[in-house]
């Protein structure tokens, strides 16, 4: 089975890259976007990621806008929100996003990925 593709969106570029490295080491495909606009741009291209991991407060379109856009492309795409502002998460989205409060443990993210059913190779 082809490993899942994760789109990691965070304006903290170094953290996003390190997270991506760890996920790749664990057998996932990962794309990184460092602001909302580039995340949306990425979502207009194939292949569509199988899960969106996004920050909320970012320049050029925030995580809520990215989430809404992602759902417009794939109504079922699982979303994991990783944020310092958990109360700003859009809980009206359906299916509901999983909200993790920064700072997150890598293991917590792994567990969340398992919950939404994405698998590594």
């Amino acid at each position: 089975m082809e490993p899942a593709l994760i789109l990691v969106v965070d304006d903290d570029a170094r953290s996003a890259r390190t997270l991506a490295n760890m996920l790749r080491e664990d057998g996932f495909h990962v794309d990184v976007a460092v602001d909302g606009a580039s995340a949306i741009a990425r979502l207009t291209r194939a292949p569509m990621p199988s899960v969106l991991v996004t920050d909320l407060r970012m320049p050029n379109a925030d995580g809520v806008a990215v989430s809404v856009f992602a759902r417009s492309r794939d109504a079922e795409i699982p979303i994991i929100v990783v944020t310092g502002y958990p109360h700003l998460a859009d809980r009206t989205l359906s299916p509901k996003p999983i909200v993790l409060t920064k700072p997150i443990l890598y293991d917590d993210l792994s567990a969340a990925l398992a919950r939404v059913g994405v698998r590594s190779s």
Binding site: T18, V82, P103, Y106
Partner: protein, 526 residues
């Protein structure tokens, strides 16, 4: 002097004793058949006198007064002259004032009654007429004296009332004058020499001085506080200014300063050359000050909360990189010391993260959302949640529940947070004792009180280090890893529920007591 003393003095003065009382009582049966006639004749006589008759409102009143007189005659010869007796006599005097009977008629009327009674006594009890009549004279004179006294008192208070009424009606004769007396604003008029000539009720109320004290005084010297004297004097002296405002402190009789904004108009009416309309804005200013301060505090709170949120981003970066570091170190078979060092960084980041979360809970509490909740279920749930940690620490969790469940309108998740927080504190307090071979118990107890539910979290740990420690204050902690916000948040949640929380602690026994009012529940019952 009270009535009893007054009468005792009068009786002693005319030498009215028990023998006199007996004399009068003895002749009463002989005279009683004539009481109605005496009263009838008495009022018939009054009808002949225009001025005396003028006081009556009609025949109904005369009939009533006539009956009263019969009763009075019976009392007069009743032989009992106690306080109740003279209270009635006193009342007669008051009635005379009420109906407007001039006093001269009281004396002349008494003269008529006296003559008739003397005549009857001589006729029907000739053998003891002398002693009986002497007693009658004394009794009647005391009657007159008491009535006169009460007439005078009643008249005096009536005159007082009339004077007050006249003053009032004089004042309301002109609506504009009334308005000046009604307003809470200070209205002061001064003459060309700066002497106060008008001083309204508002000015009296604000300053505490009466107009009788203030009229004739120099305005500035009498009312304006030193702090603003120069400014006020200067503008008042400038005759080119006809209409202006000036702020000045007014000093009150009590020595307090009031902030008053004066609207000043120069216009001559009578001997008044300058009118000053003052608005006391002391309270408004204090309120504005308070709201400015709380706005500032709120702004600082918002700033702090914003900062706390933003701290989470670098913490996240640090945390992820520590995870990455740990993973890499493990793969490289790094030493235990290096792995431990990385672990310490991770733990410190977690601690900071916890501090941020609790600070945000504290700085920006979510409003409580009340729902009717089973407190029994809530306590049970908290006990269940703490049990794994407790068991691990060899602490037994005991549930002490009431026979009947208690329902209250509370924010269940918030109260659960409170119970968990206290239970966790209890377990953590006992844990060190267990490791020394002791045993530990944490009891969660629920009880009903008349108007509240009582929840106790009890432990047999070592107790608080100091009884007076400010444990509910933010950032107070005795735990090496504590943020000092747990109990502050707990306190906040309980008080947000209009409840109370207190602690009772000594070595081996600590109990936190929470009461939550049963508003909704008690209303349903009643």
């Amino acid at each position: 002097m009270d009535l009893q003393k007054r009468v005792a003095e009068l009786r002693q003065y005319v030498d009215f004793g028990e023998a006199d009382a007996r004399c009068l009582a003895d002749v009463r049966p002989l005279l009683a058949p004539d009481f109605a006639r005496i009263a009838q004749e008495f009022y018939d006589k009054i009808r002949e006198h225009e001025e005396a008759h003028a006081v009556f409102t009609g025949e109904e009143q005369i009939a009533r007064l006539q009956r009263s007189m019969q009763v009075w005659l019976g009392r007069l010869l009743g032989g009992t002259y106690d306080a109740a007796y003279y209270a009635q006599t006193q009342h007669v005097g008051e009635v005379h004032v009420r109906i407007g009977l001039p006093q001269r008629y009281m004396f002349t009327a008494m003269s008529r009654i006296r003559l008739e009674l003397v005549r009857l006594i001589v006729e029907r009890a000739p053998d003891r007429a002398k002693a009986t009549n002497a007693a009658l004279h004394k009794a009647l004179d005391i009657e007159l004296a008491v009535m006169l006294e009460s007439y005078h008192d009643a008249m005096a208070s009536r005159v007082e009332r009339r004077r007050a009424l006249e003053q009032e009606s004089g004042a309301i004769a002109r609506a504009d004058v009334a308005a000046i007396e009604l307003t809470r604003e200070l209205v002061v008029g001064v003459d060309d020499g700066g002497v106060i000539r008008l001083f309204n009720a508002g000015a009296e109320e604000t300053t505490g001085y009466g107009r009788e004290e203030m009229i004739g005084q120099k305005l500035v010297a009498a009312l304006v506080a030193d702090e603003s004297r120069d400014a006020v004097e200067k503008v008042l002296a400038d005759t080119k200014l006809n209409r202006f405002s000036v702020d000045g402190f007014v000093k009150t009789r009590a020595g307090k300063l009031r902030d008053v904004r004066w609207d000043v108009a120069r216009t001559q009416i009578g001997n008044i050359h300058v009118f000053l309309i003052g608005h006391d804005y002391t309270e408004e200013r204090a309120l504005a000050e308070l709201s400015r301060r709380s706005e500032k505090l709120a702004a600082v709170g918002t700033l702090a909360a914003g900062l706390a949120h933003e701290i989470r981003n670098p913490l996240n970066g640090a945390q992820l990189h520590v995870s990455y570091l740990e993973r890499t170190l493990k793969r490289a078979n790094a030493s235990a010391e290096m792995l431990e060092a990385a672990g310490v960084i991770g733990d410190e980041i977690k601690r900071l993260a916890k501090l941020v979360t609790e600070f945000l809970d504290f700085a920006r509490p979510n409003p409580i959302e009340r729902k009717t909740t089973s407190l029994g279920a809530l306590v049970e749930r908290a006990a269940g949640l703490i049990e794994p940690e407790a068991t691990q620490a060899h602490v037994k969790v005991i549930r002490d529940m009431p026979s009947k469940d208690i329902e209250a309108d509370v924010d269940a998740s918030k109260i659960e947070q409170v119970l968990l927080n206290l239970a966790r504190n209890a377990v953590e307090a006992i844990a060190p004792v267990i490791s020394n071979g002791g045993s530990g118990r944490v009891t969660l107890r629920l009880r009903r009180q008349p108007k509240a539910a009582l929840i106790e979290i009890e432990d047999d740990g070592p107790g608080l280090q100091s009884e007076n420690a400010p444990i509910f204050d933010a950032f107070f902690t005795t735990k090496p890893q504590g943020t000092g916000l747990g109990l502050a948040i707990t306190h906040r949640i309980v008080t947000d529920h209009d409840g109370t929380i207190e602690v009772d602690s000594h070595a081996g026994h600590t109990v936190f007591r929470i009461t939550l009012p049963l508003r909704g529940a008690t209303e349903n019952v009643s």
